[in-house]
Amino acid sequence: MDDKNSESRPPESAANVIVEFRHVHKWFGDFHVLRDINMVVGRGEKIVVCGPSGSGKSTMIRCINRLEVHQEGTIIVDGTALADDTRKIEEVRRGVGMVFQDFNLFPHLTVVENLTMAPVYVHGIPEDEAERQAFELLERVKIPEQAWKYPGQLSGGQQQRVAIARALMLKPKVMLFDEPTSALDPEMITEVLDVMVELAEAGMTMIVVTHEMGFARKVADLMVFMDDGEIIEAAPPDIFFENPKSDRTKLFLSQILTH
């Protein structure tokens, strides 16, 4: 639709690309946290991002829905380049679901209200219709019986599944997960990963920051390894795990896979 911009885009970025980073840089004060990030995410594909603590993984995926603002380069989400226009940002955000490490459910609302809040107020969907969808999704994440409780009354794993359902309510085109299982006890990790695997099998586009390498092997189309603000390695999982090129990747994998 915007002819002036389209010539600068590589050909593949038209229809089947949902998120694209082009030469993205970001600083926190003087600290150069993202250094020349270039990444393309195709529709329906699953990207797993890993890397040591402080390497900028969270910062990168939070740039996609502009919870963080990058200073240089271009981020294009579903055809819209992110800029300061508040209206456009709100629109982009509605197409991007996000699941946080510590759930961030709204504690003053019941589970159902957590799910229906945004659809009712943002999309103007009638309340009973939204509630019907909410129950469908709760069914899908396997906790329909918790619908009328408050988040504080649920276990961590249940809360995270509510958070996933909440993000799905807006029918997002891409889902972002920032270490969704790292605040959970081991026995709850599986129940959340199961839901995520199911979601992946249903064809959802996903960008997942995680250290759950079993999950990564199972669903990832592309593994991205970050260190110190840079993308060090990007490869399909079989190559990434069996034959990593960079020494830093090897070191990281050896550390993370020993336990």
Partner: protein, 372 residues
């Protein structure tokens, strides 16, 4: 070789389940655990008991047995050894309604009943809806009609005739109803990203907080008329009301801001990520949580606002305290001012204590089923 002997050890046993040990009950156990649980507390208990024994009989004989309860003759009081509660019966109309015309006092009674009635209703969470808000708006309209008169065949009574408890309650309700929205906007504005709005709000808050309420009221009543043309001269009650609203708003704004700051960043991010606009986020996610946190502190300020209504007597309005002072200018009864003021003391205490209990109740109500 093996490793060296470990020091740690644990013993394997099998202990059957049993109920917890029975706690001592009964009056003696209660006394012991509350009043005599150690030597210091025992000494304090005995001292306090002694102090009560010394003072209480004197007070009871003054306040009850030797008191004069009802008479319209102050001389009777003069001969009695105890309190003269008769002054209250004699002067209660002036104390409660100030200079409001005597025959119209029933209107003041209605105003008091409406305010108290609606407040009680507002205390129950099941009545919380837009209807309640509408009811308050209607009530304020009715109160104004009752106080001002001039319509429906009511005798016209200007604000210069207002006084007593109705005036106190009107000032109080007006201050809270007008001041809370201002407080919320000031608190939000103070956290705004827009420098103009931010500095305006900071300025408002700091200037208002930097001066005593009396100064604000003097400004409103004495200086304000100097600066505006005469035909724009706004009624004194309204000017005082605006002054009190601003004063309350500035203080409450800082309390609300504290609540806003207590909301974790993740809540803002989750709301942002869902694509909520600033106002949707504020109204649906942030404010409900922030206000819940600050209810106790806010109630503290609301109670203070109630007591602050007494300051209006400085600019010549007769709230219930001011009206009492006027009532006691009667030389026949002036001796019995302490008794009259004790009545006012009890009156204020009843109002403030119920507000305090009310906030406790609301807090408890909101906490049901949630742990955050």
């Amino acid at each position: 070789m093996g490793r060296p002997q470990t020091v740690s050890s644990a013993i394997v046993v099998s202990a059957p389940r049993r109920p917890p040990p029975v706690r001592e009950t009964g009056i003696v156990a209660w006394l012991r655990s509350n009043f005599f649980n150690n030597i210091h507390n025992s000494v304090l208990t005995l001292l306090a008991a002694w102090a009560l024994l010394v003072t209480l009989p004197g007070f009871i004989s003054w306040a009850v047995t030797e008191a004069v309860w009802l008479t319209d003759d102050p001389k009777v009081c003069r001969t009695a050894a105890g309190a003269c509660w008769a002054v209250i019966a004699e002067k209660h109309r002036v104390m409660l309604f100030g200079t409001f015309p005597y025959d119209e006092h029933w209107r003041g009674v209605l105003v008091i009943a409406i305010v108290i009635g609606l407040s009680v209703v507002s205390g129950f969470k099941r009545f919380w809806s837009y209807w309640l808000f509408a009811a308050w708006l209607v009530a304020m309209g009715v109160i104004l009609v009752l106080q001002l008169g001039g319509v429906f065949g009511l005798r016209e009574t200007g604000t210069h005739e207002w006084g007593g408890l109705p005036l106190t309650l009107i000032m109080f309700v007006g201050t809270v109803v007008g001041g809370l929205p201002i407080a919320i906007f000031l608190a939000l504005g103070r956290r705004s990203n827009l420098p103009v709005i931010k500095s305006l709000c900071i300025g408002m808050i700091e200037i208002t907080r930097g001066v005593p309420l009396i100064t604000v009221l003097f400004m409103a009543s004495l200086m304000f008329p100097l600066f505006v043309p005469e035909e724009l001269n706004i009624d004194k009650v309204i000017r005082a009301q605006i002054g009190m609203i601003l004063f309350f708003g500035a203080y409450a704004a800082e309390i609300v801001r504290g609540g806003l700051q207590a909301i974790p960043r993740g809540q803002y991010e989750a709301a942002d990520a869902a694509g909520l606009t600033y106002w949707e986020k504020t109204r649906k996610i942030i404010l409900p949580q922030a206000l819940r946190i600050v209810i106790p502190a806010l109630m503290n300020d609301i109670i203070r606002a109630f007591k602050n209504t007494t300051f209006v007597s400085i600019i010549g309005l007769f709230d219930v305290l001011g009206a009492t002072a006027t009532a006691l200018e009667d030389p026949l009864w002036v001796l019995y001012a302490p008794e009259a003021y004790m009545f006012i003391f009890v009156l204020y205490f009843c109002f403030c204590f119920s507000m305090s209990k009310y906030s406790e109740h609301v807090e408890h109500d909101l906490a049901k089923g949630r742990n955050f």
